[in-house]
Every structure is written in structure tokens, then in C-alpha cells.
């Protein structure tokens, strides 16, 4: 029942993975109660948003075999859409709607143009063109300071229901004050779950099967009568739409948006790492990857701080474990991951199941 309607028949297919997923979902849902405090709530919200963002990237990379550098651009368009709308209009849900609609329109148009222009050719070509477009967009966003706030970004008010000052009721519930942040978090969680299930529905539809056929052998898919360029373009647009929505959610959560929070190249690298760690070609991978990565991002730097003070006397080693160099270690992890575990954690877990069955 649940498996058929909610998960679209695409179950985790591994007991360990299923347990892990349940643990992550429960952990996220109960964060305000188990781990009280602003930081843990922020980490949980970031995990939720990145699950959508990474899943939408996997729609292209893992399911269709297209590599795009423009994913953060669409993420940024979503965030800027909401940010610009709420800066100029009163903080009402209607203004949020206008911002989201505007951002979606821009994203769809842009992804359609980029897709039609460059998806006919090799994967490399598409990667190069999206890199160029994304870089240009980033420069534009930081230079048009009248509209986007430039490097400083935009800070704005959100609708009253989810603003920190709002209180649902006076008495705390299970020791937690039900303020706007908590309500915002649960709305965010609901939105993320819905978006994730919609994506799961898409990849398990006949359309999704064609995408996987294109990934495996584009030539054969074309020979079977599927117009690959049409399917690829649609994936590009769909993926852009979900990335845009993730951006909208991020802007609403942070009540701020700037080039570094959504457009920067570092975020593109983060998404890539999460996809690879979790496992390409499976949406559950995005849940696992995003959770592990974001927890590590907070945890690894603390660990490196310890290492950095421990090795403070040794010249090069000290710099190697400096907290600012955490990207170095993630990069090495990334390269090793692609060589040794191309299927990621989810792929590894499912592989064990297959071996046991055989």
C-alpha cells in the first residue's frame, strides 16, 4: 500500500538502507524535540533542502547521464526570486507566490534555451556550456547590485506565520516553544517530503524508464523510437524546476540570500559530493548523501581543529589539517569514491542484498 502509492513501487530494497532512511526521517522530524537549539535546527533544515537539490541533480546525472554545471544557477534563481519579491512587496504569502512563480518562469525558459541549444551534442559540450552560463550568471548576480544586493545579498522579512517572533501558543509543548521557526521547519519538511515523492514518482514512470534507457545507451533508445533530445531537454527543465523550488525553500528558511549562499562554485562541488557519496542513479542516495555530507561538514571541521592544534609544531602537516583545508580532504574522498565506490552507499547496500540472494 505505502510502497505502491507513496513510494511509487520503488522500495529501498535493502533492510539496512530502509532502517537508515527511517532513522534519518525520524531524526529530522523530531530534531526540535531531541536536539533543541538553533544550530541543530539549521543543520536539519539544510539537510532537508539539500535532499531536494541533490535529488533533482541526480535526476540529470544519475538517471539520464547528463552533467550540468548550471544546477546552482537554478537554485540561485529560486532563492533570488523569493528574496527579490519579499524585499519589494509586503511579507505576505501572496508575495512569496509571486516570487516563486517568477523564479519558475525564468528557470523554465533558461533551462529550455540552454537545453535545446546544447543537449544535441556530447556530454562534454553540455558541461562546458553550462559552466560558462553559470559563471556568467554568477557574475551578473553580484554586479547588478540594484536588484540583487550585489555581494551583500538581500535580507528580508518572511510571512508572519514563519517569522521567529510569532508564537502559536503561550505554553511550551513537550518543553519546546512553538514559535515561527518550528512551524517554518515543519512546513519545510512537508514541502520536502512532497517534492521528494513527486520526483520518485517521475523516475518510476514510463518517462523515467526512458531516461534510464538513454543513460545506458542513447543510440539504442533513439533507435527504439524515443527522441532522446526531447527527453533530455525535459529532464533538464524538470531538474531546473525542482532546483528552483529548493532555492525558494532555502531563501524562506534563511530570510537572506546572496551569491555565496546559493550560486557559488563551492555549492556545486557540495552537490556533486553528496550525489557521489549517496549513490548516483537512485533518489534514496540523495537522502543518505546529503545527511552524511552536511553532518560531516559540521563535524569534520571540528575534528580538524583538534588535529591542527595537535600538530601545531610541524610545518606542512599543520597546514594540511587546518580547518579551512577541509575541502582538500573532501576532494580526495571524492576522487577515491568515484574510483572505488562508483555506486555510492546506496549502491553498496543494494549490492550486498543481490549477492546474498544469489
Amino acid at each position: 500500500m505505502i510502497s505502491k502509492f507513496l513510494l511509487s513501487g520503488d522500495t529501498p530494497r535493502s533492510k539496512v538502507l530502509a532502517a537508515l532512511l527511517v532513522l534519518i526521517v525520524l531524526g529530522l522530524a523530531l530534531t526540535p524535540f531531541i536536539f533543541p537549539g538553533a544550530k541543530s535546527l539549521n543543520v536539519a533544515a539544510k539537510i532537508c533542502i539539500f535532499v531536494v537539490l541533490v535529488a533533482s541533480f541526480d535526476l540529470m546525472l544519475g538517471y539520464t547521464g547528463i552533467f550540468s554545471f548550471a544546477h546552482t544557477m537554478f537554485f540561485g534563481i529560486g532563492a533570488y526570486g523569493v528574496a527579490i519579491a519579499l524585499t519589494h512587496l509586503p511579507p505576505k504569502w501572496g508575495s512569496v507566490g509571486i516570487g516563486v512563480a517568477g523564479a519558475l518562469a525564468v528557470s523554465i525558459l533558461l533551462s529550455l534555451v540552454v537545453g535545446l541549444f546544447s543537449l544535441r551534442v556530447k556530454a562534454m559540450f553540455f558541461a562546458m556550456i553550462t559552466l560558462a552560463v553559470a559563471t556568467a550568471f554568477q557574475t551578473l548576480a553580484s554586479q547588478m547590485s540594484d536588484i540583487t544586493g550585489g555581494e551583500d545579498g538581500l535580507t528580508f522579512k518572511v510571512p508572519e506565520l514563519i517569522s521567529p517572533a510569532f508564537q502559536l501558543r503561550e505554553q511550551p509543548f513537550l518543553g519546546v516553544t512553538l514559535d515561527g521557526r518550528i512551524i517554518g521547519f515543519y512546513l519545510l519538511l512537508v514541502a520536502v517530503v512532497v517534492l521528494f515523492l513527486v520526483m520518485l514518482r517521475i523516475v518510476n514512470s514510463p518517462f523515467g524508464r526512458v531516461l534510464q534507457a538513454i543513460r545506458e545507451n542513447a543510440f539504442r533508445a533513439e533507435a527504439l523510437g524515443y527522441r532522446t533530445v526531447v527527453y533530455r531537454t525535459w529532464t533538464n527543465v524538470l531538474s531546473a524546476v525542482f532546483a528552483t523550488l529548493a532555492g525558494c525553500l532555502l531563501a524562506l528558511w534563511l530570510r537572506y540570500n546572496g551569491p555565496d549562499t546559493t550560486l557559488s562554485f563551492a555549492i556545486m562541488m557540495d552537490i556533486l559530493l553528496m550525489v557521489v557519496i549517496g549513490g548516483m542513479g537512485t533518489l534514496y542516495g540523495s537522502v543518505v548523501g546529503a545527511t552524511i555530507f552536511i553532518l560531516a561538514e559540521n563535524y569534520l571541521q571540528d575534528l580538524m581543529k583538534v588535529g591542527s592544534t595537535a600538530f601545531a609544531k610541524i610545518p606542512v602537516l599543520k597546514d594540511l589539517v587546518h580547518p579551512d583545508r577541509w575541502l582538500l580532504w573532501l576532494g580526495i574522498l571524492f576522487i577515491v569514491g568515484i574510483y572505488k565506490f562508483p555506486l555510492g552507499i546506496v549502491g553498496k547496500l543494494r549490492m550486498r542484498l543481490k549477492k546474498a540472494a544469489a
Binding site: 547521464g65 558541461a127 562546458m128 556550456i129 559563471t135 562554485f265 579551512d324 575541502l327 582538500l328
Partner: protein, 339 residues
């Protein structure tokens, strides 16, 4: 084996490759197009600046285009060689600051040339390692290649920060290359003349190798049809390693020049210029050295003209240029072989 001294009958009937000169006219066309909007002396300054920037772009990108043409490998980590080259130059020039600051051009060259050669040698070595560790395991898998080379670039950039520190390091022009020459009212920076001279020398040497030597013949044949060259008994893999190493060394040389051009170096400088390089090689036609040269000049000129007229859209102007060129010739200015 005896080589026939006279061509076999029918050999002379082979159709000659038609030379394609149309793209060559693009450079004067663009220069003339910009003339009405800019005063003549500024125009001369900008044109020369554009050509100098184009020369540096050519040195940076020529290796990239050949590497792609030969093995379908697109190295997103190419930028790392550029940064490493520039950083090595800061170290070498730093050892003899007196020579670099002196007014005599001969003394300047005495330190800049070793810096360039040192940068080339080390980036060549780095290229050898990079090819072995990063690229060789993922031949023929484009998606993995993109990801792995990206990962390689991140690791490289971070290692630069470990070795040289995260902050920007100034790389001042040698004393004899500072300032500019006045040509009527137009001021032409001396360093740009140096850049054009070096760029032309590299271009000439490269063209000579590509068109006049057996090595060049094999490279061109490999770009055109890899399997055919392999079936003739040549080890294309070795050829590729050679091209990769040479391309990395050129990136190192270009990195030194780019660093001197910008007067300061940061670890991200290579990654930032990578985008321009991709635009250049797409415009030129992937795998074509001549196309790469033309593409570099076009991008350099357009970047300078638009940067003067409307600075905010400078990066978009290059993408616009690429779109226009691709609409006209979908494979780039000079299409090569198999794509």
C-alpha cells in the same frame, strides 16, 4: 622496404584540402566594427590589449584543445596547471628580487626566463602525474572524467593553499617591462608587446611542429581518426601522454604570463580562467590549433572592447560570441574530424 621514388599513378589525383580563409576575416571585421564606438587612440590601445590577452589565452588553451581532440578527454583540472605555474614564478622571481626590479631588460629576462622554464618543467611533471593518477583510469567515461578532473582541480587548489598560503601573492612586472610606449596618443603597455612576441613565437613553433614534422602529422592524424592511427601501429597512448605533458607545460608558461598580466596570483585564478578557455576552444573547433588561435584572438578582442563599452556584460559578451559562431558553424570555426 623500398620507398617508391615517384608517386604511384593516381596519387597526384588526390584532391587537395581546400584552404578555408573565411574565419580569418573575423578578426579585422570585429576590430573595424568596434572602431566607430571608440576614439581612435583608445581603440588602438584596446586592440593591442585584446591581442595580448588573446596570445596568453592561446598559450593556455592550445594544450586543452589538442588533449580533447586526441583522446576525447576534457580536462576540467587544466586550471590547476595555470595556477601552479604562476605560483612557481612568484617563488623563483622572489629569489632574485633585485634582478627583477632593475631597469635593465636583460637582467629582467635573466630572472623571468628561468621562472618561465622552471614553471614549465614543474607543470610538465605535474601533468605526467595527473594523467597517470587522475585521467588514465577513466578513459572513455565522460561523466566520470568530468567529475574526477574537477576533483583533481579542487585538491590541487587546496594543495597550493597549503604550500603557499591562502592569501593572494603579488607578482610585480619586472622593471624593464613596466610602463608603456606612446604611439601618437595611444598608450601601449610594454608588457603587452612582450606577451604578443612570446605568443607569436609559441604559435609559430606549434604550427611548425604540427605541419612540418612527423610528430605533428601523427597528432593531426590522431585527432582526425584515432583508430586508424592505432591500426597503423603507432602507440596513440604514448602520443597522448606527450601531448598532455606539453599542454600542461604550456599552461604553466601561460600561468606565469597571466599572473604577470594580473600582477597578483591566487589559487583560484586557473579555475576562473578555465571558463574563458572552454569558450575559446569551442569557438575554435575542438582539436584545432589554428581555430584555437583565432578563437583566442576573438575572445581577447571582444572582452576588451565590451569591457570598455559596457563592463557589466563583459562575460556575457564572450558567451554571445560563442553562440553567434556556433549558429554560423555548429562545430566551431574549424571543424576537425570525427565530432
Amino acid at each position: 622496404m623500398t620507398a617508391p621514388s615517384t608517386p604511384a599513378p593516381g596519387m597526384d589525383a588526390l584532391p587537395k584540402v581546400r584552404k578555408d580563409f573565411v574565419p580569418l576575416f573575423l578578426i579585422p571585421a570585429i576590430a573595424l566594427l568596434a572602431l566607430p564606438f571608440i576614439s581612435p587612440s583608445t581603440w588602438l590601445t584596446l586592440t593591442f590589449a585584446g591581442l595580448a590577452m588573446g596570445m596568453i589565452l592561446f598559450i593556455l588553451s592550445s594544450g586543452l584543445t589538442l588533449i580533447f581532440g586526441l583522446m576525447d578527454v576534457l580536462n576540467f583540472g587544466h586550471g590547476v596547471f595555470i595556477s601552479v605555474g604562476a605560483f612557481i614564478a612568484t617563488t623563483i622571481i622572489g629569489t632574485a628580487a633585485g634582478w627583477s626590479d632593475s631597469e635593465s631588460l636583460l637582467r629582467n629576462l635573466g630572472i623571468v626566463l628561468p621562472a618561465m622554464l622552471g614553471a614549465m618543467a614543474l607543470t610538465a611533471l605535474l601533468g605526467l602525474i595527473f594523467e597517470r593518477v587522475i585521467i588514465r583510469p577513466v578513459y572513455g567515461q565522460p561523466l566520470k572524467q568530468i567529475m574526477i578532473t574537477m576533483g583533481g582541480m579542487i585538491v590541487g587548489q587546496e594543495l597550493i593553499k597549503v604550500l603557499w598560503g591562502p592569501q593572494a601573492i603579488p607578482l610585480l612586472l619586472p622593471g624593464g617591462m613596466r610602463g608603456s610606449i606612446l604611439l601618437g596618443e595611444a598608450a601601449i603597455e610594454k608588457y603587452r608587446v612582450v606577451a604578443v612576441v612570446i605568443g607569436l613565437a609559441v604559435f609559430a613553433a606549434m604550427m611548425w611542429v604540427m605541419t612540418r614534422t612527423k610528430l605533428g602529422l601523427l597528432i593531426r592524424a590522431g585527432v582526425h581518426d584515432r583508430e586508424m592511427v592505432e591500426s597503423m601501429g603507432y602507440r596513440i597512448r604514448r602520443l597522448f601522454i606527450g601531448v598532455f605533458v606539453a599542454g600542461s607545460a604550456l599552461a604553466g608558461l601561460g600561468g606565469v604570463m597571466w599572473g604577470l598580466y594580473q600582477q597578483s596570483v591566487v589559487a583560484e585564478m586557473g579555475g576562473a580562467v578555465n571558463v574563458l578557455l572552454f569558450i575559446v576552444i569551442i569557438i575554435g573547433g575542438l582539436g584545432s590549433v589554428g581555430g584555437c588561435f583565432l578563437g583566442s584572438m576573438l575572445v581577447g578582442l571582444v572582452a576588451n572592447y565590451v569591457g570598455f563599452l559596457a563592463p557589466k556584460v563583459a562575460l556575457f559578451s564572450n558567451i554571445g560570441l560563442m553562440v553567434i559562431v556556433l549558429l554560423w558553424r555548429p562545430q566551431g570555426l574549424y571543424a576537425v574530424g570525427k565530432q
